[in-house]
């Protein structure tokens, strides 16, 4: 499960590099931090 989430985190980080729309960036960042917390919770 952690592996899958880590992969998704990488995808979002990649997308954030090329996304300029502020609202989309907010959504991506929200999801990114949510997933990072999930990994933290499982540690």
């Amino acid at each position: 499960m952690r592996f899958q989430i880590s992969e998704e985190i990488k995808v979002i980080e990649g997308l954030l590099l090329s996304t300029t729309n502020e609202e989309r960036r907010l959504e991506l960042n929200m999801m990114l931090e949510f997933l990072k917390e999930q990994i933290g919770v499982q540690k």
């Binding site: 499960m1 899958q4 989430i5 998704e8 995808v11 979002i12 502020e22 609202e23 960036r25 907010l26 959504e27 991506l28 960042n29 929200m30 999801m31 931090e33 949510f34 997933l35 990072k36 917390e37 999930q38």
Partner: protein
Amino acid sequence: MKTLFIQLARLGDIYMTWPTLRAYHRTHPNTEIHILVREKFKEALFGIGIPLKIHVLPSAEVVEATEFSGFDSGLRQLKEFAQGLTQESFQSLINLSFSPFSSHLVKYLELGSEKAHSSVSVKGYTRTDDGFLKLPDDWSAYFFSQVGIQRENRLHVTDIFAEVSGVSLSPVDFSAPVVENLADGADVIIHIGGSEQKKRISLEVYKQVLQTLFSDRSELKDPRVWIVGSGQEEFQFAESLTAEFPRCTVTNKVNNFTLPQLISLIDQASLLIAPDSVTLHISSLTQTPVLNLSSNVNFWETGPKSPVSAVLEIKNSVIDLSELSRVINGLLKSEVLSSPKTFETVGWSLIEFIYFGGTPPKVRAALVEPLQQFRETNELMIKTLSSLEDKGRDELQVQVLERGDEILKLISDHFSDIQVLYRWYACEKMRIGPGTFESVCIETLNVHERLAKILETISPRKTEIKALVSRIKSGCQSLVHAKSLNEKSLQEIVERLFEFSQISIQIVSEENQNLCFELSRLLEEFLALLTKKEFNEIKLLLEYDMISHFQAWEESLSGPTERRQQPESQPRGSAGLD
């Protein structure tokens, strides 16, 4: 009116939020209070005794959707949930989570309200339009910059939550949870858990705790002791511990209780012994006497709030046995023990001065030089910002500002006492929101000017101190050569001496403390003579004591480099013989 509290931290944090929620209900009786928590920790709201609408973050669903169909699917779930919250039309959002995720979520909810053309006030972490962390209130800024392990904060998180929420806590907000009492209980509850490994206490320490409880000198004869906790690891730990005391009334009760049952147990017990954990925060509500075995946390922030409580800091699994015995027996007698030894630190004094209008801290001599560099760097940055304001954007000047920031950070990294100041400064700069180049310049300049004011108060300039000492010394010399002295001719030197006396308090150190004592003695003698108008005696005091005293100050204020450059003194009579 509807207010949403966001508390996405763990069980202990939820219990530390209770007093705030109760105070908010007490002061806003017509407001519908909602709270967002995680599924895993929602049980910690049971028994709070106020009307509360609980929302649960659908973490499992979002994770599952992400795992099976990718993050976009998980994000869709998360957005749907957030949109559901937006439909509640909250007038106020209070984020007590202090986490990156919660800050983005709050911004998302703010945007939702904006789209629905309704206004919402926000307290706690959120985001600016361009995605940077936004700290809309001073207490969130305080939390961001000064709260945490290895930091100087001494305010309890429970109180900070209340401040962020804009409520004042009263004793009624700390009442015990409303739960059904268990028929059975123990005299002493020992909690062996901890939300993080680093907060847990070693078996050795718990063995010493039990030895103290069962010793002949214990206040309780043959106390009934229950060990509580959860999970297989803690169960095994408790087994090892109880095996050491086969003839004592100590029982492994790990995994035996639900959270409400645990509350009842703690409420009925004479003493709780716990690390930084959920049980400790429950005891703040049940007001049970508590011994906090503290390790790797800032106990000021998350320690016990119960009036009958004590904190013992455990370092390298070592505990002071006589102190342990004194504290346990004192708590069993429900004594309010004397406060633990607390050392005044420059860091905490600086916090009190910067944030709460306290008196300026006494700055150690070792800090005079770095604070002066801090001040000079800040002055350069003020000049640079003023020039940018006048002439417009200039890349070179922008780079000067960036280097200035690096220097301020470098200095604070080397002197931990200055970190409080640097963190305040960095946080205030971070709070400047997006804007035009000119508006950002003006706001940045404002932060630097506020920094300058703080520095002006706490850091006397070394050059200014030296100049003052020289002025006093030459003043003394002139007075010695004056034909006669009177009160008027002594007026200026009196003022200078008082000025320097104040500064000496700020720069006192191990190296110059004898000089400081000498200074106050001389000042006392000087004033006594002045009161009696014994001007001839004053002249002798100036000539034979004061001048050499200020000569010694001049030498003390010169750095080691300057002192090395001075010629070594030679024995009287040897001069010129070589």
